[in-house]
């Protein structure tokens, strides 16, 4: 994905995006995000990393149309996004969002049934998505019978089955152990290659961002702004083995340099080093 930006198709465009949560009870207004400007290119894997509470998830919710911005604009495929999730956008959330009362198969088929897709087509696409995410043997199981990683794969399958052109992932592997995260990362890269979708991943894990992304946006502490966008120049057929590549360490280190002060600010320790 090394084409110059000017020659690439903009898939989603964010201009001057800000989100201020109004004052409530005894708390003043919270300036959560922005302003943020960003172009997401068609078919790229873009990751946003930043300290806790910097507005990463707020950014994703605004982009998905799940919340309204205070200022600024969002476009997806040239159409404005404002408070409604457009067709073509899929979202995977950080917490387990599987429906516990439905089987794996019914969870995955849910979106297609909502869209009124023909039952035969629902059957075909659901079987494919369940198989693609390695859940075919558990199609009739309930989410409670699955591990955390499998439940997250189920949520990805539920998004994948709708064939979204832009997939937004909000720390989907946050609750998983490191080894499972690496393997899930491989699964995600495979999904990205095979679907050709644009992916926006939100994470706080620098190594995950480095391994998965074409470009990484480092976000400041609240209110979140993009400090710098780093291109990784990885080939599209990468997998988790690139953690052994010497550039991997350099990119991760660069991200940490950008984010260390911001992370300290986020936990209220900005300036303590200078004082020492």
């Amino acid at each position: 994905m090394d084409l110059p930006d000017a020659t690439r198709t903009v898939h989603a465009r964010v201009v001057g995006l800000t989100r201020v949560y109004p004052a409530r009870d005894f708390q003043g207004a919270v300036n959560a995000l922005g302003p943020v400007d960003l172009d997401l290119y068609k078919g790229e894997f873009f990751t946003i990393v930043g300290p806790s509470g910097c507005g990463k998830s707020t950014f994703l919710e605004l982009l998905a149309g799940l919340a309204l911005p205070t200022e600024g604009s969002i476009e997806f495929e040239g159409q404005p996004v404002r408070g409604q999730v457009p067709e073509g956008i899929g979202v995977v959330f950080q917490e387990d969002s599987s429906f516990p009362w439905l089987t794996v198969w019914d969870n995955v088929a849910f979106g297609l049934q909502c869209a009124g897709v023909d039952p035969a087509e629902v059957e075909r696409r659901t079987n494919y998505a369940v198989g693609f995410m390695g859940l075919a043997d558990f199609a009739r199981s309930y989410p409670a019978q699955l591990s955390g990683g499998m439940r997250q794969r189920l949520c990805i399958a539920r998004t994948l089955v709708l064939q979204p052109r832009l997939i937004l992932l909000d720390e989907p592997f946050g609750a998983l152990d490191q080894q499972t995260r690496l393997l899930m990362g491989d699964e995600l890269l495979r999904l990205w290659r095979e679907t050709g979708a644009t992916i926006l991943l939100i994470t706080h894990a620098l190594d995950e961002a480095t391994m998965l992304s074409d470009r990484i946006g480092a976000m400041s502490a609240r209110p979140g702004r993009l400090l710098e966008i780093i291109s990784t120049h990885w080939s599209a057929d990468r997998d988790s083995r690139i953690v052994g590549d010497e550039r991997f360490g350099a990119i991760t280190a660069r991200l940490w340099v950008l984010l260390r002060q911001q992370s300290m600010k986020a936990i209220g320790r900005a300036g303590t080093e200078a004082a020492v």
Binding site: V85, G90, F93, W101
Partner: protein, 249 residues
């Protein structure tokens, strides 16, 4: 059945056995109470003879009608109150204090309006059962994890799909509590209003047997009501436990 289930059963069986011994040994006079075994025999004979089949039919129909109205009405009213914050803020104090006034006090008024028939009994039963369903529906909707509703929005689910395929099942644990209470309250409402100014129904027959000093029939009918209520509650409990066990994390 779980270990605690067996313990509960043993407590009930033990209490019945003690009562049986007390009645048989005339420590408790038969004018006050007959032995539990005779209550069951009497209940069976009442059922087998068909003597009050019309009363049983009327009571069961009234109870089922009240249950259906309480559950469906309670769910939709609960949903409406949950969806309209201003309405909720207005009604919440009434809901919280609703059961401080027993609905049965309105029974004479309802008889004046509708006459001596089944309608006042059903209305009283619904007044008993509806509000508990409303309260539990609101409780259940309050506790739906927001991410599940976001999934609905991402999938662009319609209002009806959101209500019936997300909100209703997600709130199910609380709805089952509401349903169980609505069933119990509907039985209480119908049977207790049949005691007063009614010409038909199990409650009327219990009251008639009491007035006639016919303890055997009275206790037989009480055992019958107990049996119906227990059966309904047990069935609901078993069904809800089986359903909810699947989704327990």
């Amino acid at each position: 059945m779980s270990r605690y289930g067996w313990i509960r059963l043993a407590i009930v069986a033990g209490a019945a056995l003690i009562l049986e011994v007390l009645c048989r040994s005339h420590i408790v006079s038969r004018l006050i109470m007959i032995p539990p075994s005779e209550m069951l025999i009497s209940a069976w004979q009442i059922l087998a003879s068909g003597a009050i089949k019309d009363d049983i039919y009327v009571s069961v129909v009234n109870i089922c009608t009240a249950i259906a109205l309480s559950i469906s009405g309670g769910f939709f009213i609960g949903l409406a109150i949950f969806s309209l914050p201003a309405l909720r803020a207005t009604l919440e104090p009434f809901l919280a204090s609703y059961y401080s006034v027993p609905p049965i006090v309105f029974y004479p008024l309802l008889i004046v309006i509708f006459g001596i028939n089944q309608i006042p009994q059903i209305i009283i039963a619904v007044m008993f059962g509806l509000v508990t369903m409303v309260i539990n529906t609101i409780n259940g909707l309050d506790r739906i994890r927001p991410v599940l509703l976001k999934v609905g929005r991402v999938h662009r689910a319609s209002f009806l799909v959101t209500v019936f395929r997300i909100k209703l099942p997600a709130a199910a644990p609380y709805l089952f509590i509401g349903v169980t209470l609505a069933v119990s309250y509907s039985i209480i409402g119908v049977i207790s209003s049949e005691f007063i100014m009614s010409a038909v129904g199990i409650g009327h027959q219990i009251s008639y047997a009491y007035d006639s000093y016919d303890n055997r029939t009275m206790y037989g009918l009480i055992a019958l009501v107990l049996g119906i209520a227990t059966l309904l509650n047990m069935s609901l409990h078993v069904y809800s436990q089986r359903l909810l066990r699947r989704w327990t994390r």
